[in-house]
């Protein structure tokens, strides 16, 4: 090596060092350690109306999440043309109780909708949710089918697998977004819980979400973050999800799980299926992005 070549090499190497941006990887473990352990509440009972109030009590009641004058979106899963017994959609009584209690808490407007997989009207009717909503006679409740004009493109700044999604405007603009999924089996994501239910606010070709579903659901959770997740596990679908159709696949559990931490809520609900949170890719991905806690031993789990 001659002198000229040596100097050139030194300059190049040192240039590389001096221009590189110093970066410190802060592990999610470290981030999580700073946070307070999230509260997850679960309750069991046959009277679903009372059960909703009971499960929310340890979290501070509905008033903690819905303030007077709030615009509230309550997003159930009513994606399938199945009846309540078949456990493919959120139980209508759970949605109804949540709406009524939010109205009592002084919500200015409550919006209930889902972008369905089967034909929209059939899903709304046969899920039983349409009838439940019609029985609530309150002008503040708006129960409607999504309007195609109102899906807006959103940049997913922190997205790792997806950087742009079309999201329903009402979900983005709401003061309070409450996620009310039903817990059930799903072949690709293993279970569909809170994070998966958020797909109901997406426009466009949602099938593309399936390619790397877990990470994409976590990416979506960076922009759609519910103040409250209430998982309906009053009856859970064990096989042939997400739409089921056979009562033999349904297990009655009469349970609700609630938390302000969407990841923790999913993580705890996973145990109802005798599974562990780290088996669910979306839970793991969201935890790694710092969106919530997935370790059961770092949560405060309260039975209400």
């Amino acid at each position: 090596m001659d002198r000229r070549n040596f100097l050139k090499q030194v300059l190049l190497w040192s240039a590389g060092i001096s221009t590189s941006i110093p970066s410190f990887r802060i592990g999610s473990e470290l981030l999580a350690a700073e946070k307070e352990a999230p509260l997850v509440s679960h309750a069991t009972g046959k009277n679903y109306h009372e059960l909703v109030a009971r499960v929310l009590e340890p979290l501070g009641g509905i008033g903690k999440f819905v303030k007077s004058g709030d615009h509230v979106v309550i997003k159930p899963n009513m994606a399938w043309d199945r009846n309540p017994d078949q456990a493919a959609n959120t139980h209508p009584l759970v949605v109804k109780a949540l709406v009524e209690q939010s109205l009592d808490a002084g919500a200015k407007k409550i919006m209930v909708f889902d972008r369905t997989c089967n034909e929209q009207r059939r899903c709304y009717v046969n899920s039983g949710i349409q009838q439940a909503m019609e029985s609530i006679n309150d002008k503040r409740l708006a129960y409607y089918h999504p309007d195609k004009r109102k899906f807006v493109p959103v940049n997913i700044e922190r997205g790792k697998a997806v950087n742009r999604l079309e999201i329903y405007r009402d979900a983005l603009e709401a003061d309070t977004y409450i996620n009310v999924p039903v817990a059930k089996h799903h072949s690709l994501s293993k279970l569909t819980l809170g994070l998966k239910n958020s797909m109901g606010v997406l426009g466009g070709n949602r099938g593309n979400m399936h390619h790397n579903l877990g990470q994409k659901l976590a990416d979506l959770a960076t922009v759609i973050s519910p103040k409250l997740t209430l998982i309906d596990a009053t009856r859970i679908l064990l096989r042939n999800g997400p739409q089921g159709g056979k009562l033999e696949d349904v297990k009655i559990t009469d349970t609700l799980v609630a938390s302000a931490d969407p990841v923790a809520c999913d993580a705890y609900a996973t145990t109802l299926f005798d599974m562990q949170p780290d088996e669910i890719p979306s839970t793991v991905a969201a935890y790694k992005m710092g969106l919530g806690e997935m370790h059961l031993d770092r949560m405060q789990i309260l039975q209400a």
Binding site: E119, Q120, R121, R149, S187, R206, N208, N212, N240, K246
Partner: protein, 518 residues
């Protein structure tokens, strides 16, 4: 109120009823339709005759047409003047499409009879073409496949414009208006149809023919009119005009059907009882009544040669149909709606009314172009990429006026196989690229899913070994609903397609796994 005002009132009421039933041909919150939305087709005696000849049996669904045959024996072609929605539309637009030449020539008047003969003999021998000329088929098909969806495009574009571009205070007005229209007259969803333009132009042609003569279609083409004319010849009530009434010829000029000749005879073959002549006659010489025995019964005035020719044509043509390749190997992608009869019977009964395509909530039923032959044009098929067959829906069988699609119970529907799916492993992502997907499996509606998957290790495009779930179909469970094809997230063609293989209605088309009929 003058007589013609009563007639106009009847036309308006019937037309409003027609539109009401058309709009109500839709899911309404329960799987059972609350109205007999297909009634217009079931009172049509021409279609009843054609369908019964094709089916070689009296089609009981069409019994209401007997009422109208009976009424025609009494009143003549009153249907054409008082009830027919197509006739009412033509009357309604007459002012905007005036006749090009004043003379009433009636040159093609006999054509409708030749056509009728051709259509009926064709129906009997296997060339069902009634739906191409029946006015209600043309009308409902034109509305359902093109005009109504276009109306929705218009409304949606307008209200999207106001929503996106206009200030808030205008939206305060337009948004409630849009919501109201959506609730009342607009369709629930935007439908898209094959042959939308063709259907529209056929409908439009009937209006353009008004340039030749007023009610040209009714006078010269309409096979329903021709069918009624045969009975109207013997009708009890008929019009009588004065033979020595002067020179005014008002009645001849106002007659929309050209039914009054130089001698002021009113031909019951053509008269549709609009009663304009009664009101217009300055001498009040025209009257309609039952005691008119002295009026001669008019001749059909058909040429024997042309009559026999149309008979011969209708007899000969059907035998050419089986010379085509499709008689040997039918289009494998021709998937018929659930409950469809075996192909020949199905086409014999199908009157191309478009009701099933209108009511299909998945927008999956589309008119066939040529893949079922010229005699299959406009018959319904499932085009699963535009929309699938909803698992718990039986609406198409309920609206079919002729039983070409039999009315299935939900339990029957769940086991009626309209086809089977095929995966294209060269395109399906888990097979072709090692990318996880199985959207098809997620949507598969049978309680034990017809689409299953196997876990397989694949090399993805980065040459990494990955485990993916690869879908496959269980033939015994697949009913061919096509939701997998509709939801397949690939751009363009789906990686899974429905074919007619294994369809319940055709044992010749059975899959290897199914037991063969012999």
């Amino acid at each position: 109120m003058k007589l013609r005002h009563w007639r106009r009132l009847s036309q308006i009421l019937c037309f409003v009823l027609f539109l009401f039933l058309f709009i109500k041909t839709d899911y309404s919150g329960s799987n059972e339709l609350p109205y007999a939305v297909n009634i217009l087709f079931r009172i049509d005696p021409f279609l009843a005759a054609s369908v019964s000849l094709a089916a070689k049996t009296l089609v009981s669904l069409m019994w209401p047409s007997l009422i109208f045959i009976g009424l025609t024996f009494i009143f003549g072609r009153f249907f054409c003047g008082w009830i027919c929605p197509m006739g009412s539309l033509l009357d309604g637009v007459h002012r905007f499409i005036p006749q090009a030449h004043a003379a009433n020539e009636n040159r093609f008047r006999s054509f409708k009879f030749y056509l009728l003969v051709f259509l009926l003999i064709g129906a009997l021998l296997g060339l069902p073409a009634a739906g191409y000329f029946d006015p209600f088929s043309i009308l409902v098909r034109g509305l359902a496949l093109s005009v109504y969806p276009a109306l929705n495009v218009l409304a949606t574009s307008f209200f999207t414009f106001t929503y996106q571009q206009m200030p808030e205070w205008i939206n305060m007005l337009t948004e409630p208006a849009y919501a109201f229209l959506k609730k009342t007259v607009l369709p629930f969803q935007q439908n898209h149809h094959d042959l939308a333009f063709v259907s529209f132009f056929i409908l439009l042609a009937i209006f353009i023919l008004e340039r030749l003569e007023r009610r040209f279609f009714c006078r010269s083409i309409c096979p329903v009119g021709a069918f009624y004319a045969i009975f109207a010849r013997f009708s009890l009530m008929r019009g009588k005009a004065g033979t020595k009434c002067g020179k005014c010829r008002n009645c001849m000029t106002v007659c929309r059907m050209g039914a009054i000749d130089e001698e002021r005879h009113i031909s019951p073959l053509d008269c549709n009882l609009c009663l304009d002549c009664v009101d217009m006659c300055p001498g009040n010489k025209i009257s309609f009544g039952f005691q008119q025995k002295n009026i001669p019964r008019p001749a059909f005035a058909l040429s024997r040669r042309t009559f026999l020719s149309s008979l011969a044509l209708g007899t000969a043509l059907p035998f050419f149909l089986d010379t085509r390749t499709m008689a040997k190997s039918p289009d494998p992608y021709l998937v018929r709606p659930p409950g469809a009869l075996p192909e020949k019977e199905f086409l014999g009964r199908c009157v191309r009314c478009g009701e099933c395509m209108k009511v299909c909530i998945g927008n999956g039923l589309q008119p066939t172009f040529l893949s079922a032959g010229i005699e299959g044009l406009f018959s319904p098929r499932l085009h699963a990429r535009t929309g699938y067959c909803e698992y718990n829906c039986t609406l198409c069988g309920q609206v079919c006026p002729t039983g070409a699609l039999s009315e299935l119970t939900l339990a029957q529907k769940h086991v009626t196989k309209i086809g089977n799916i095929i995966f294209d492993k060269n395109r399906c992502l888990p097979y072709a690229k090692g990318i996880p997907c199985i959207v098809c499996e997620e949507h598969c509606p049978t309680p034990d899913k017809a689409i299953q998957f196997r876990e397989a290790q694949m090399l993805n495009d980065k040459a990494e070994k990955v485990w993916v779930k690869q879908p496959y179909v269980v033939d015994e469970r697949c009913i061919g609903c096509g939701i997998c094809e509709a939801k397949c997230p690939l751009p363009g063609a789906s990686a899974v397609r429905v074919t007619s293989a294994g369809e319940s209605r055709n044992p010749q088309n059975s899959l290897p796994a199914q037991s063969l009929p012999y």
